[in-house]
Amino acid sequence: MKKIFNHPLRDTKPTSWRTEGERINSADFAENLAREFPTGSGHLSQEESQEIEGLTRRNFVRLMGAATALASGGLAACRRPEAHLVPFTKSAEWTIPGKFLYYASAMPSPAGAVPLTPARIKTISESL
């Protein structure tokens, strides 16, 4: 046997409100509400609203869906990205691409020159 529930009547008072005025339904609020969004304020001019008259919400979703599908599934990203190898124009003496270049040098100091064997690390001439 199916149970019959007798739900209490719904309270007609609003359960949520924007301002205190709406809650108590004051005259001030009614006046402001009417003034807040006057018809046609800043939305569309007469011509514009005529132009997009055929554009219903469903049409809009249809068009946007088609555009997204074309953009993402339209094989736009199927090409392999091109990478470039860029060698020197003029061969650099003593450098071997990919290897350190060690050379003799010296650093001056008050006590005399400090001998150094620095390494040039960036000898790869070919960037990607």
């Binding site: 190898l85 124009t89 003029k90 990919g98 790869i124 001439s125």
Partner: protein
């Protein structure tokens, strides 16, 4: 208590199974075939800024690979020739000095702007590869790059997939060459049996023990 499910629902598990098989099998096979380097990489042949022909330079004129790729024996990276290398032969008053096909080379030489060659063989950054160690130990250019001497426009001949690397690392005797024939693109072993015999000999004599652990390449 009445039946919750209609009679046709008895067939539902079987129908679902058939549907999964019919949809799943092509997807699996498709990914298996199309999502592999063998399909996506092999045959990649981009347009190069200069229509350089390996077939002409290597096959007809008999140039060595190392004239242009000069550091392949000493460095991990096999370099491309600098514009200066091209100009050695194609400079003013030399071979085809006024050819329109060489205009980008002349322009590069005059302005100092390098020629942006399009990379074909591209290993991921997480894989370490050393050209010198392969070339010096009996792996020919041919094994990885194919018959470049036959290519008028270079394309990728091998997949360069990890399985392809491991095929050789697990059994290098199938690919090793005599050291004198490394850069000889026309050399081929007389027979598979000879290749195996020779390869086994080189592998033992040179103590070739290619890494097949992860850290060998992904270091």
């Amino acid at each position: 208590m009445s039946n919750f499910f209609p009679r046709w629902a008895n067939w539902l598990p079987l129908q679902l199974l058939i549907c999964v098989l019919v949809v799943g099998a092509p997807v699996t096979l498709g990914v298996w075939y199309y999502f592999t380097p063998k399909y996506t990489r092999v045959g990649y042949q981009p347009d190069q800024p200069v229509p350089f022909s390996h077939a002409l330079h290597v096959k007809q004129l008999g140039m060595d690979c190392r004239y242009c790729h000069s550091f392949v024996e000493v460095a991990a990276h096999s370099n491309l020739p600098t514009t200066q290398t091209c100009i050695n032969c194609h400079g003013t008053g030399k071979i085809l000095a006024n050819s329109p096909r060489l205009a980008p080379v002349r322009e590069s030489w005059a302005t100092g702007q390098p020629i942006p060659w399009v990379q074909i063989h591209r290993l991921p950054d997480y894989a370490y590869f050393n050209h010198a160690v392969h070339v010096n130990r009996g792996v020919s250019c041919y094994s990885c790059h194919g018959a470049v001497n036959e290519m008028s426009v270079v394309y990728e001949a091998q997949s360069l997939s990890m399985k392809w690397c491991l095929d050789c690392h697990r059994a290098p005797e199938n690919f090793l060459r005599p050291p004198a024939e490394i850069f000889n693109m026309n050399w081929h072993p007389d027979s598979p049996a000879y290749q195996l015999e020779m390869g086994t000999k080189f592998k033992a004599e040179w103590n070739i023990n290619p890494p097949i652990t992860c850290g060998g390449c992904h270091r």
